[in-house]
Symmetry: C2
Amino acid sequence: MKRAPNISDVAARAGISRSTAARAMSGNGYVDSETKKIVEQAARELGYRRSAIARTLRTNRSDTVGILIADISNPIFPRIVKGADEVLAPEGMTLLLCNTEGDSVKQMAFVQKMLERQADGLILVSQSLPEAVTALLAGGPPSVFVNRRPDPDAFDYVGPDNVAGIEALLAHLSVAGHRHVGYIGGPENSSTARERLGAFQEAAPRFGIVSDPDLQLLREYDYGAEREGAAELLTRSGRITAIVASNDMAAMGVIAEARSRGLRVPEDLSVTGYDGAFREPMWESLYPDRPQLTTIGLPRRQIGVEAARLLLRRIKAPEAAVAKMILPIEMIAGNTTGPARPRS
Amino acid sequence: MKRAPNISDVAARAGISRSTAARAMSGNGYVDSETKKIVEQAARELGYRRSAIARTLRTNRSDTVGILIADISNPIFPRIVKGADEVLAPEGMTLLLCNTEGDSVKQMAFVQKMLERQADGLILVSQSLPEAVTALLAGGPPSVFVNRRPDPDAFDYVGPDNVAGIEALLAHLSVAGHRHVGYIGGPENSSTARERLGAFQEAAPRFGIVSDPDLQLLREYDYGAEREGAAELLTRSGRITAIVASNDMAAMGVIAEARSRGLRVPEDLSVTGYDGAFREPMWESLYPDRPQLTTIGLPRRQIGVEAARLLLRRIKAPEAAVAKMILPIEMIAGNTTGPARPRS
DNA sequence: CTGTTAGCGCGTTCAA
DNA sequence: TTGAACGCGCTAACAG
C-alpha cells in the first residue's frame, strides 16, 4: 500500500517547484493562472488531498471550533448549534460537536482533546463548570460561554435575559391573582439558575407574590427531579396555586405530578415552563389537545449566531474587552396557567 | 505572548534528551521509572501539553472517528451515538459529531474535513448516499454505514432487520382483520426504505393483505410529507383500514391527518410507526392520554455499539471481509391499531 | 510570478 | 536505558 500523494508528488508531476504547487492549491500568494491549472490537473490525476494536519502544525490554526452541548436530545440545543454553524461555516471553520450529557468527566476529556488538537476556539453551552475546566481554558484558546458562565467574568458570554424572563412570568401569574407560587429552580452550580432565583426573590414582592424560602426548591433541570420537587412543594403547602418550573421538560414533570394527585392544570394549579423546547412546528400539531405551556421563549438560533460572532471577534482580537451579551426573551402565554383558585 | 512549551522545553528542564522525554510522555519504549517521574514533574511545571497534531502528522493516526447523523433532534440518534462512544472512548478515540440535516452538501463537506484531518474512521448513520460520497470514501479510511448503505456492498454495515419488522407489522394487522393497508415508505434513495417496500410487497399476500401499488407511496421520512401522503391515500381509496408509516414521527403526521378528517384512531383507521422514537421514559409519562404507537422498536444503543466494533475491527484489519450485521427488532403493540372496520 | 530554505512538534529508527 | 538524527507535509519568509 503506497502512501497518499503529497504536495511534492503534485509538484513533480506538474514539473514545478513544491512551493508554487503549494501556493496554487492553497490560493495564497501569486500564481500564474496557467500554471495553476496545470497543478490542479496534476492534483486531480494523483488524487491529492491537502493535509489539514500538516497545515495546522505549521500555522497553529486548525479552522476548527469545539462545541460542548449538555444534552443533544433537548431540542433547544440543535438550534443553537445551527446558528453557530451558520456564521462559522462561511469562515471556513468546522464545528466539532460533543454531547457531554452533563458529565464533567466527558466535558474535561473533550476540552483536553480540543486543546491537543489545536482548536481555534470553544463554545460551551449550558455546561456545569468545575474549576478544573475554567482553569484549563484560562490558558487555552478563545472560549465563549452560553447560558451558563463561570464565576469571575473572565470569558465572553451570551445568554438570554433571565431577569426579564422571571419577571414576565411573575407579572403573568400576578395578574391572574396568584399569591402563593412555588418555585423550582435549576441547580446551584448553574449561573442561570442563580440569576433566576435572585430575580424571583427580588421581584416577587413587587408583584404581590409571597417569597417564602420554603416554597423555593433547587433541582436538576430534568423531568424526574422536578416532578419530585413538585411533589415536595404540593405536600409542604396547601396554599400554592402555581408552580414555576425551570424548563419545559421539567414543567411536564410538574404537570404529571399534579395530575397524579388529581389536580387539574390549570384549573387547580397553574404551571409555567422556561425555554420553549416544545415550540417546534412538529410538536405544535402533534397532539392537538396537549398542554400548551406558558413559558419563556429563547432566541435559540440567535444565541448560536452571537456566540459564534463573539468567538470570531476574540480569535481576531484576543485582547478585546470581555463581552457579555444578554438577548431578549419572549413571553408565551399558553393554557397551563389560569386564574388562581385556592386549593384547600 | 510566548509559544506553548514543547517536548524540547520539557527535556531541557528535566536535564534530559528530547527523545527520552518523548518516550516518558507517550509511554512507548523503555524509560527508567525515576527519570520518568522527573520528566512528568517538569512537564507539569511548564504546563506542557502534547500536540495531537504533531503526533498525527508523524503517525498518520488521529485517534478520531467522525460520525454523521442525519437529524440529531430525532431521539433515536443520540442513543446510537452513545453506544458508539461507549466502545470507542475506552480505546482512546474521540467521536466527532456532525449533524448533516439530510443535506448532502454538509455531508460532503464534513467527510472532506474528516479526510483532511486524518480521521481513523467514519460512521455514517442514515445518510442519503450520493455516489460522490461513496467514491470519496472508497479510497478513504474505514467507514461503517448504519441503517442505510450504498449500493455495492463494499462497506461494513449494521442495521435493523427490516424484513422482520415489516412482517411483524403485517402479521399484527392481518390478525386484526386488515386487508386493505396503505403503505407509506421512505424515499427511493434510502436502502432501508427499499428493503422495507420489498418486504411489504413480498409478504403482504402471505398475510392475506392486498398489495396494490396504488396504495404504496414513497415519501420523505418526516411529519409533513407523510401527513400529505396519508391525505393522498385516504382520498384515493375508501377501503383502506390501516396505514403503515415509515417512522414514528411520520406516523404522528398520519394520525393528525386522519383526525382532521374526522377519523378516529384506531377505531376507524389503524396506524403503525417504525423506530420507537417516542419510547423514552420521559415521553411515556408525559401525555398520559397520548397515542401509544404500534411500532417496531430498534436496538439503538446496540446499533451504535456494533457499528463502533465493526469500525475498530476494520481499522485493525483493513482487508477483512465486508461485514453485514442485521440486528433483531422488537414488535411493540400499542393503541393505534385495532380490529379492521370498513370505512365507507 | 517562481524557487530555495527552514522549521512547526513529535515519534522512531539506530547506535551507543 | 539513553541520545542523535531524521522526516511526516506543509507554510512562510526571502531572494531571484
